[in-house]
Symmetry: C2
């Protein structure tokens, strides 16, 4: 985490080379953020010439460049790439956080490489068994925190329990939800349903002190029945990718019909205000900053396809997560949890 | 399984009391099926007076009633209900298959009760470790078989391997797909991704003799990259319920905009042919017959909310599954598999 926050400003390391579009989208996003937040500091990590070209003008005083000569490409194997590319922008950016020279790192680069770099170089927070990657899932009434979406396959009931605490802290501090409702994703609402992992996690959550509202089903995910929904990595990953695939499929089918003359274009023109309202609900760019929770520092990963608007929102989330000291709060909560764990109960028994 | 099929006609036991709407939707569906398939026989299982009232006319010669005085309600605990209600329509219907008096059972009743009744009274086929509930998932180019969606939480890699064989037989015989492409649902397409169960299943599928096309992601489910997609029960259940929730959510938002005067209704009128095309793609009623694969007999479960059109399609699937001797083929394939399993390899090594 670096030094404690005794000031309002944060320093954000931005992986300038990451993502499908690289500096041409990341750098403008970072500059827009810097201009809107003059008290914060932005560190663009990557090839100086590429960053300068993408900026197209002298950098403002609050933005500096940290050189990194290599990039992990989106199609590389993350572990191999990190081993070979010691000067990869994501590693240099994470190291700034490790050395206390930055408070957060934001990347649109390879998700697996970002997670591996963070776990490798920052390590887990004390009390955290496994980190989790969270997303903000859209609903009509606002986003909820959904985790794990891929950091930790083969999770245990205790892992899910820890995710719930970490997600609740993020929801409370960054999304501003007081006493967030926590739920477990399962086959049915009844407590007996699901598998052994879900049964174990239900038991742990029942006595977690969290505002645990029980188990929710897949169909409830659009209904905002909880502010934090916890599940294993495979389920979470399949769910968010299916979200992308299914909503994209439906909107593509509609687009095709709106383009079909003669009636389609007129229908589109008539329905346009309504379609804008729907688009605003499905504005995943606004919620595209995904925190990797449980590591020693603030790490935000956004979609490889992200363009400047989405990347800028991811930087906002990174700044807010660092400013609200989410990693410190997670450490405190989970140290406290492991302190009053099984052994204490054994003494009471 | 009953006697071997030496004739083209099949006898289908229909749980007349099951589902949210009970006999008023099930009985007309069964009668419509019987009229369209005069060589088949339909056995309506339930309260005779309720069935007669719902029929509203004398039953045709190919339809008979098997009395059952009780019903498992949709909100009951399946195991408890089956223990207390010995004369429940689903039990009586399954027993007809067990005694060889029917070739298939079709129910819109409580899914858990239907599965429990089938496993309890029919048992597993030789060679099958655990049964799996499959659905037909819609894509633009037709349905694919997706399983397990909830029969067997805590599945193993070997279970997934067996599901693949069972799903492939159903796809080939009932959906008419030659040499069906089989895939495993995972976090990424690369073989290293996913959890230990997926890794183990990938290995088994690689040498399964099936047309295994590898691992697919959640976003690929709408793309029809495979004819059979296999996963654990919790993932499958969350996915199909999320499908229901998310597509329902999007279509509800659109409906709201189409209703908003003055432009919405006109846009709706203009776009109506296009919306009909989209509705035809998402016509889950046509594919709503879900086979429980791996039990000794043909068991088809459809949605509790199903109305007569969907129930009739489920009866069609049940008849086709029995006619094509899917349970016999599964038994043959899985007995063969367990015959050439680990012990033989040990000898070779």
């Amino acid at each position: 985490m670096g030094e404690p926050f005794d000031r309002a400003d944060v320093r954000i390391a931005v992986d300038a080379m990451g993502g499908d579009h690289g500096p041409s989208e990341v750098v403008p996003a970072a500059l827009a953020y810097a201009e809107a937040h003059p008290l914060d500091r932005v560190i663009l990590v990557g090839r100086p010439e590429a960053i300068e070209t993408a900026a197209g003008r002298p950098l403002p005083a609050t933005v500096r460049v940290a050189p990194a000569s290599e990039v992990v490409r989106m199609d590389e194997h993350p572990a191999l790439a990190l081993r070979e590319k010691k000067d990869a922008s994501i590693l240099v950016a994470v190291d700034l956080v490790r050395r206390g020279e930055a408070d957060a790192v934001v990347t649109a680069g390879h998700t697996g490489a970002g997670m591996a770099a963070a776990v490798l170089r920052l390590g887990r927070l004390p009390g955290v068994d496994r980190p989790a990657l969270a997303v903000q899932m859209v609903t009509e009434t606002g986003p909820f925190v959904f985790l794990d979406i891929g950091a930790n396959p083969d999770s245990t009931a205790e892992n899910l329990h820890q995710y719930a605490h970490m997600g609740a802290i993020f929801a409370e501090r960054v999304l501003g939800v007081p006493n967030p409702r926590v739920a477990l994703l399962s086959i049915g609402e009844e407590k007996g349903k699901g598998d052994a992992r879900i049964a174990g996690a239900t038991e742990l959550l029942d006595r977690s002190g969290l505002n645990f509202v029980g188990n929710v089903e897949g169909k409830d995910l659009v209904r905002h029945l909880a502010d934090v929904v916890v599940c294993d990595a495979v389920i979470g990953n399949v769910t968010i990718k299916f979200f992308e695939g299914l909503s994209g499929f439906i909107f593509d089918l509609l687009r095709r019909e709106f383009r079909r003359p003669p009636r389609g274009p007129l229908a589109y023109w008539l329905l346009r205000p309504g379609l804008e309202r729907i688009r605003a609900i499905f504005d995943y760019e606004r919620v595209g900053g995904s925190p990797l929770l449980g590591v020693r520092g603030t790490v935000i990963i956004t979609h490889g396809r992200a363009r400047r608007r989405m990347i800028r929102y991811a930087i906002e989330v990174g700044a807010e997560t660092a400013r609200k000291q989410v990693p410190d709060l997670i450490r405190e909560r989970l140290e406290e949890l492991s302190g009053r764990g099984r052994p204490v109960e054994a003494v009471e028994a």
